[in-house]
């Protein structure tokens, strides 16, 4: 299990491939579910978002995400979980967040990945400030996943 909070740009598909090759035993996981959140150039009805700044609470953010991953691994039959999240300056089409979960069975992988990303969106201390053609603004809130428990 690994949680990374970084300012550097990342290729989510390469990150998953590298993590799997390095940490997952061969022939044991039947299902992998990956969620990637990508920066859009529109949000809450506003077009023309040119860049974004992601603030976080160093220390608490990592600790919170590690605990959520541990909780998911205990709650479902999950073999491994991997989370990467960008902070600092982010541009449209950049990957912001990656959540990857490996399990013996697909339903466990889906439930665990969704649990992690929903907790991350609603509880992990990150804040987005968008730069639009009209200026800057803090994003007010994340949408609720209808499947959130």
């Amino acid at each position: 299990m690994k949680v990374v909070v970084q300012t550097a740009e990342f290729d989510p598909w390469k990150e998953v491939a590298d993590y799997q090759a390095r940490y997952l035993p061969k022939g044991k996981h039947g299902g992998t579910v990956v969620f990637v959140g990508t920066m859009r150039d529109f949000n809450e009805g506003i077009d023309g978002i040119t860049s974004m700044y992601l603030d976080h609470y160093p220390g608490m953010t990592e600790r919170h995400l590690e605990r959520v991953c541990q909780e998911a691994m205990q709650k479902w039959d999950v073999m491994d979980a991997f989370v990467v999240h960008r902070v600092g300056a982010v541009l449209p089409d950049d990957a912001i967040v990656l959540v990857a979960v490996w399990s013996r069975h697909r339903s466990m992988a889906f439930d665990a990945a969704r649990f992690i990303i929903n907790d991350l969106k609603h509880r992990a201390p990150f804040w987005k400030r968008e730069s639009t053609v009209d200026g800057e603004r803090w994003v007010s809130g994340n949408t609720v996943d209808h499947a959130t428990k």
Binding site: G37, L54, D55, H56, Y57, G59, M60, R63, H64, H85, I96, V97, I117, L120, K121, H122, R123, A124, P125, F126, W127, K128, R129, W138, V139, S140, G141, N142
Partner: protein, 76 residues
Amino acid sequence: MKINVKYFASMRDRVGRSDERVELADGATVSGLWGAVSKDALPENTLIAVNMEYTDLSHVLKDGDEVAFFPPVTGG
């Protein structure tokens, strides 16, 4: 006792600083700390962490605690 206070995102903009050290009487709560750092009411929906764990205004502080005030999170 001495408390380390941190402000993030729009809360930092509102308070006008990112962190500070505050001297409080023993037994003070997070609510008392907020009264010591600001004349305004704490904005609705403000999240509070003490030593990087979520908590609420009634939390009783100890010397050396780190208290953070921040708005609803918007990561992911």
